[in-house]
Symmetry: D2
Subunit: 287 residues, 4 copies
Amino acid sequence: MENTKIAVIGGDRRMLFCAKAFLSDGYDVSVTGFDNLCENIAVKKLPLEKNIILCDKVVLPLPCIKGEKIFAPYSENDIKCTEYLSALLNEKTVYTSMKEKLLENFPALKEENVFDYSSREDFAIQNAVPTAEGALSIAIDNFEGTIFRSRCLVCGFGKIGKVLSKRLYDMGADVTVSARKQSDLSYIETQEYNAVNTYEIKRELPFDIIFNTVPALVFDAKTLKMIARNALVIDLASLPGGVDFEAASLYDIKAIQALSLPGKYAPKFAGEVIKNTIINMFKEETG
Amino acid sequence: MENTKIAVIGGDRRMLFCAKAFLSDGYDVSVTGFDNLCENIAVKKLPLEKNIILCDKVVLPLPCIKGEKIFAPYSENDIKCTEYLSALLNEKTVYTSMKEKLLENFPALKEENVFDYSSREDFAIQNAVPTAEGALSIAIDNFEGTIFRSRCLVCGFGKIGKVLSKRLYDMGADVTVSARKQSDLSYIETQEYNAVNTYEIKRELPFDIIFNTVPALVFDAKTLKMIARNALVIDLASLPGGVDFEAASLYDIKAIQALSLPGKYAPKFAGEVIKNTIINMFKEETG
Amino acid sequence: MENTKIAVIGGDRRMLFCAKAFLSDGYDVSVTGFDNLCENIAVKKLPLEKNIILCDKVVLPLPCIKGEKIFAPYSENDIKCTEYLSALLNEKTVYTSMKEKLLENFPALKEENVFDYSSREDFAIQNAVPTAEGALSIAIDNFEGTIFRSRCLVCGFGKIGKVLSKRLYDMGADVTVSARKQSDLSYIETQEYNAVNTYEIKRELPFDIIFNTVPALVFDAKTLKMIARNALVIDLASLPGGVDFEAASLYDIKAIQALSLPGKYAPKFAGEVIKNTIINMFKEETG
Amino acid sequence: MENTKIAVIGGDRRMLFCAKAFLSDGYDVSVTGFDNLCENIAVKKLPLEKNIILCDKVVLPLPCIKGEKIFAPYSENDIKCTEYLSALLNEKTVYTSMKEKLLENFPALKEENVFDYSSREDFAIQNAVPTAEGALSIAIDNFEGTIFRSRCLVCGFGKIGKVLSKRLYDMGADVTVSARKQSDLSYIETQEYNAVNTYEIKRELPFDIIFNTVPALVFDAKTLKMIARNALVIDLASLPGGVDFEAASLYDIKAIQALSLPGKYAPKFAGEVIKNTIINMFKEETG
């Protein structure tokens, strides 16, 4: 497998770190679209066409499309979604994020050759780590007390909720986690956190810091008023999020929408996660 | 709900702790079958018939049946599975362990009135805590080194595997956890443990202590020979377990079958878990 | 003790939090020097003279003196170090930071009435918590990977080193701690970190993030070159610090001088620490 | 240094593990006094006289003397404290435990050649780890609930108190630690435990499990009555200990004297600690 030739096309610094991670795993990697990055990137550069023709597998960036082009902020030339590019890609296996959006922009692309790394569970689980670190940093920067001994609420016990609540607990916070399923609530208690049913969150005592991970309007005006009057609220849920920001502003509650933290706080790790996930996909194909 | 009258019938000291836990939650509780326990039990005792007739809900023990009778080691008289008892129970809601075995012994019992607390996920999750503590104690007592800096393998990342690997890691062990699903393996790594696919466990380096939680023969002769030559092996999986004990004996490997740890190491907690689970069941009924 | 009247004179928002913390402990508190702070401060304000005359104990800020005046950035009027103020203070017990500097500016102040909270060990220990949190935030913001699985060096195992290394370890870093005394090195190992003698730090493998807490030039050009070529270096030691920043710049190593983190990252906690420390001093006086 | 010839004389299985640990560090090791141990010990055996004459450094066991002889439970012949043995030892550097007792039994021994590993701080610090593990095991075995969510008191924040309180906290206990110095109390709070002054321990709420590490009568009848009525009490302090066992028995409190835990629970680790400590002594001599 290590002789596999991989072409990384476009993307921001995450994709460069992804390319380097493939390289240190022994793969033969070339990149396209990093002409304007003023650093010694230590990976071979090739022009678009040549890179795709010579490779076995193509890796497209996260996000894959921006403004109807392949996302490539460091590229000298736009990488447009042409029929010719589509034909080139059809000869290879393609690993991409946001597969549906890619197919919209390349209608002639053979769907069965295209695999989405960003929709996989192992991808999301690994990204929970940098997301939790970014959320911690935001909390430390914006809360006037310490995380230590603060009363924190983590709403949702999915991938991010699990890692984040552990980090907060380890830093000495008084951690409450909300969930809906009884088995989750029991598990939360074995982790030494306080457990509360998300439906009953309003009846809790006020908190110092509230982290939302649930993409549903849990923190409406009424709930904010009951438990967040002096709190810092950090919404980590993907859009449309779970916090009524207008109500927060009305009640003078500091509320922060925190999106795409892995790319912002840990581009190197985020790139390595893409590489790890694609390698897991390789294994499943051959395995 | 707190006016509910609860009759706890039979069982060992766990059921007494269960009764006391109901009592401190404000329920009206009476027990039957603790005549020979030489301690001040602080819970009201009633004769079998009276206890059932007066109560709203009956709690049967864990295990519920032993030798075709209700398990009641501290009872002066056997509690036999008579038709009359069956008729009494049919007037009430019954919470039991091992429902199928109960129904075998009471063929006239109305199945729709009988609920099994021992088959629920929240029951199993809570019991993972005393199971992990018991496993730790067995490891400390039987391993000649310390848990600290020992190389531990936890096979299986279910309820017990999750709690146990955290305990070992917190005590300074070098923890490897095996699982089969890629998403579990990714999650294991976010917890800072080493992850290994259960199928490839044979290729690992040798360990000092191996904890098995998987009820399938993972540790056959060949695997034991490869990774357990100087190890202590503790099998926590329910019968038939996951360790070839004969092979272990042949290779002079110390292997321990460790079953029913909550009752042995933490009867008070085990009783409280039964109470917690039944209260969760009450909540779901009333919705 | 709770009837004690306390006058808090000057300071930034930390001292306001300090005043509030005294208030919630039941003390009778008045502040001077917060005229220009545009928030409802919830503490009684009094003019300078009146505040001192009416109180039992005076609390001066951290830092106590700036530009030959009492540090009071939110005061409408400067609080000058006059003989009259000195005479007023001489009637009371005074709790201050940086006692020597205060006495320089108030030569007539009776030294035996003045107590320094900022030089105490319990003060420094409590402040290690917000210092560690601030250092974490700086590291998360400036390192391209995650703290998780990064190779971190904490130089020095004093108050800050102890808390910081625990935080890093709990976040999944590979933590090495340096110290000079054998008993410290043994203790470091019981905490599950790697231990290295500070004298031999040069021989270590390279690190991703280096935190210095030792106020001596440990990280000279040579050491930086050996172990920090691709590292982020964060110097937490009080001035003159322990890092050759010129050499770091020469080698293109990102090095950050991080001072006074409690006030910057957790002013509320920093104010509470001042209150806690002064209350400890009260206890020792009466005790 | 690795060419140094080391003679390990007497002792129980700890000393055998100590010898093996020297061996795996590359030293040339021979043992005397393990004739009756029925296992393949994998270390060279030599008769007493020859072993001492051929070696550079002699290691005596822990304890060193029992019944006026060198402690050697697995030796076929007693190792008596003769003048001849004294003369042999005088030609070498001797590493021993309990130096004073050795010198009493060998009055002709040159004191300046004899070094005590058991009185060193690094020895005590390392042994805190197996002591804490043994204490945990005793607590798990004897307490009817789980360590998880139990209310634990650790009396004393020295070497053992530090490691033990961390272990209990990590297992989910509600941990209170007592100490006398204000700086210790502040440090205890940064570790997220409850802090209480040892002098005021009587005023605390009752506990489930009490661990004493202070060799002074802290737990007299009155204190036991106040805070230990339903507790398990484990006394880890060296003799005479810190618990009034008669009073405990009178109040029907389960109290356990737990001594020499490293040797009982982790002989392998205990032997490695002796080796580590002696190597630290070597370094200091040459360093």
